[in-house]
C-alpha cells in the first residue's frame, strides 16, 4: 500500500538523505512509502546469521524477499521508500496502488538502508558522503558480492566502524554499499576484510539469472 510519509518519517528521511549529502534531492522529490512487502531484494543472503557459511554472523541486515533461497526476517520493517517524478504521479499512485512505482530509494528500519538507485544519485549529485574508492580488480570482485580488503582501497572519506559507505571504483562509479569493520584511520589494513559487502550492482545480474 503506497502512502504519503508521516511527519516522523519525513524528518527521519531528511536526516538520512542529509547524511548522504543529497538533502536537496529529498526537498525536490515526490516520496511515497510502501508498507507491504516488496519483491525486490536489495541485500544479499550472505548475512543470514543462521547460515553457518555466512561471513558476518553478527550482521543484522536481512533480506526483504519472497524468494525461498533468501532468509526472510519478519522483524524487519517492510517500509520501502519510493521516489516519483512528479506530484501528479504521486497522486496517481496513491489512487491506483500499482504493483511498483518510480524508483526504490531504500528501506526504513530504525536506520535508512539505501538502495542501489539511491547510491547512484549519491555518487552523481553529492559531494559529501561516506565512501571508499577501490582498485579495479577489487571492483570486479565487489560486483560478484565479495568483501573489500584493506590493500584494495585507494582512498576514503572519514568514518567510524560500522558505518554504511558507498563503494566506488577509480572512476567514482558506484559499485555497491558496504559496512565498515574499522574506522577510516585504520582502513588500509593489509590482508584483512575491512568493508563488508552489503549490496552491489552485480545483484542485478545474479537476480536476472
Amino acid at each position: 500500500m503506497y502512502r504519503i510519509p508521516t511527519k516522523n518519517e519525513i524528518t527521519f528521511l531528511k536526516r538520512a538523505f542529509n547524511i548522504w549529502g543529497v538533502f536537496e534531492v529529498f526537498e525536490r522529490s515526490s516520496i511515497l512509502i510502501k508498507e507491504d512487502s516488496i519483491d525486490v531484494v536489495i541485500y544479499s543472503n550472505r548475512y543470514n546469521p543462521n547460515n553457518k557459511s555466512s561471513k558476518n554472523k553478527n550482521c543484522k541486515i536481512q533480506v526483504n524477499s519472497k524468494f525461498k533461497d533468501y532468509n526472510f526476517d519478519k522483524t524487519l520493517s517492510k517500509k520501502g521508500v519510493f521516489l516519483l517524478n512528479s506530484d501528479d504521479h504521486k497522486i496517481d499512485v496513491i489512487k491506483n496502488q500499482p504493483y511498483y512505482a518510480g524508483l526504490l530509494m531504500g528501506y526504513i528500519h530504525k536506520k535508512f538502508f539505501p538502495s542501489l538507485s539511491f547510491l547512484e544519485i549519491v555518487a552523481t549529485k553529492s559531494i559529501s558522503f561516506p565512501y571508499i574508492i577501490i582498485k579495479e580488480q577489487a571492483a570486479n570482485l565487489v560486483l560478484y558480492g565479495r568483501d573489500v580488503f584493506g590493500y584494495s582501497i585507494l582512498s576514503s572519506s572519514i568514518f567510524d566502524e560500522n558505518t554504511l559507505v558507498l563503494i566506488m571504483n577509480s572512476d567514482r562509479k558506484p559499485l555497491g554499499l558496504g559496512k565498515t569493520r574499522y574506522p577510516s584511520s585504520v582502513i588500509f589494513k593489509e590482508n584483512t576484510v575491512v568493508v563488508s559487502n552489503i549490496s552491489d550492482y552485480g545483484y542485478y545480474l545474479r537476480e536476472e539469472n
Binding site: 516519483l84 517524478n85 504521479h89 499512485v93 500499482p98 518510480g102 547512484e120 542485478y204 537476480e207
Partner: protein, 323 residues
C-alpha cells in the same frame, strides 16, 4: 483468425529441405518475402545482429560511445542516434558495470523502431500493454525525459520481476507497473475510464521473427500458435484502441511475420473504430492482400522488417491514429 495455408511446389520443397524449415512456413513466406532464399539463408546461417540502445537518462550517446571505444569495442551507428550496432565487444556486454548502471539496454533495432515511430512529447500519459521485460517501456521513459506518466501493464507475475529490474536499472521514475492482463483492462477500475495520449501494444505473438536468434523455433512453430495468438491479439487491440484519447496514437507491434497476427489484426479495427494508419520512415510496406483476402489499402502504411533487408529480427509495426 485461422492460419492460411498454401500448396507447395518443388521449389518450396527444395528450399524447405535446404534450410530445414517446415514446408508450410516456406510456402507462406513465399507469398510476401522478397528474395526468399536470401531470407531463409540469413535466418538459418547468419547470427542475428546485436544492438545496444543508449539510456539517455543516464548518459549521452557520445559519452557511451567513448566508453565503449576505450574498452576496444567495435561499434557502428544506426538510423537511430541512440542505438549502436555491436560488431565486436571482446567482453560480456551484458555483464559490464556500464550495463549494470543502466547506461545502455540490449535491444534489437526493430524494437527501437517501434518506440521511434511513436510521437512522444514530455508530460504525455502513455500506456504500455504487455510491457515486460521493459525495453520499450524504458525507451519511452527516456524519450519523455522522465516526465509524464507511463502505465506499464504485465499479466505474468514472473515477468514482472524482470520489468522492475530493468526500470530500476535504467533509473526511470515515471513508470507505474500494474499486474493486470492486457485482455481484461476494460474490467479494471483503473483503466475503465482512463484515456492515454499514446498506447503501445507489443502483442504476445507466435514469434517467428526471432527464429534467427532461437533456431529451435523452426521445428516447434505451428499453425496452432498463429491461430491462438491472432485471436488473442484481436481482443487486445480492440481494448487498446478504446483506451487512446481522440487524436492519440496506438502503436501495434509484433515480432511475427504472420499476416494473421499483423495486417489482419489491424484491418479488423476499421469495422468499429475511426482510425488512420500512418506511415513510418523505415521498413517495407505492409501487405494489402494475402491469399484470397483483400485488406484495406492503407495497410501499406504499416511496416515490416526482415533480417536480410534491414539487419534486424523480423518485426511488424502499425502506427494507428485514432480520430
Amino acid at each position: 483468425m485461422k492460419c492460411i495455408l498454401f500448396s507447395d511446389s518443388d521449389y518450396i520443397q527444395k528450399l524447405s529441405n535446404k534450410y530445414s524449415f517446415q514446408t508450410w512456413m516456406v510456402s507462406r513466406y513465399d507469398k510476401y518475402v522478397s528474395d526468399l532464399e536470401e531470407f531463409l539463408k540469413t535466418i538459418n546461417e547468419i547470427s542475428s545482429r546485436r544492438y545496444i540502445r543508449t539510456n539517455t537518462l543516464k548518459i549521452s550517446p557520445d559519452k557511451l560511445k567513448k566508453i565503449l571505444l576505450k574498452k576496444e569495442c567495435v561499434i557502428k551507428t544506426t538510423n537511430l542516434d541512440e542505438v549502436f550496432e555491436l560488431i565486436n565487444t571482446g567482453y560480456p556486454i551484458g555483464a559490464s558495470l556500464e550495463y549494470l548502471l543502466g547506461y545502455y539496454y540490449l535491444q534489437d533495432l526493430s524494437s527501437c523502431y517501434a518506440v521511434d515511430a511513436m510521437e512522444l512529447n514530455e508530460n504525455m500519459k502513455i500506456l504500455d500493454i504487455a510491457a515486460s521485460p521493459g525495453g520499450k517501456t524504458t525507451y519511452i521513459s527516456q524519450k519523455l525525459n522522465n516526465t509524464g506518466l507511463i502505465y506499464a501493464v504485465e499479466s505474468d507475475k514472473k515477468r514482472l520481476k524482470k520489468l522492475v529490474f530493468n526500470t530500476t536499472r535504467c533509473g526511470s521514475k515515471n513508470i507505474s507497473i500494474y499486474n493486470i492482463d492486457g485482455l481484461s483492462l476494460s474490467l479494471s477500475k483503473i483503466f475503465s475510464e482512463a484515456k492515454f495520449d499514446n498506447v503501445i501494444l507489443d502483442a504476445p505473438c507466435s514469434c517467428d521473427g526471432v527464429i534467427q536468434k532461437d533456431r529451435f523455433r523452426k521445428k516447434t512453430y505451428s499453425t496452432k500458435s498463429i491461430d491462438y495468438c491472432s485471436t488473442r491479439q484481436l481482443n487486445m487491440i480492440n481494448q487498446a484502441v478504446s483506451l487512446v484519447k481522440p487524436g492519440g496514437t496506438l502503436l501495434y507491434s509484433t515480432c511475427s511475420y504472420s499476416p494473421e497476427e499483423n495486417e489482419f489484426v489491424v484491418n479488423s479495427l476499421f469495422d468499429k473504430h475511426d482510425i488512420i494508419i500512418e506511415p513510418y520512415k523505415y521498413g517495407v510496406p505492409g501487405l494489402t492482400s494475402f491469399g484470397d483476402h483483400q485488406l484495406d489499402k492503407s495497410l501499406k502504411n504499416t511496416r515490416r522488417f526482415y533480417p536480410h533487408i534491414h539487419n534486424t529480427l523480423g518485426f511488424f509495426i502499425a502506427k494507428i491514429h485514432v480520430k
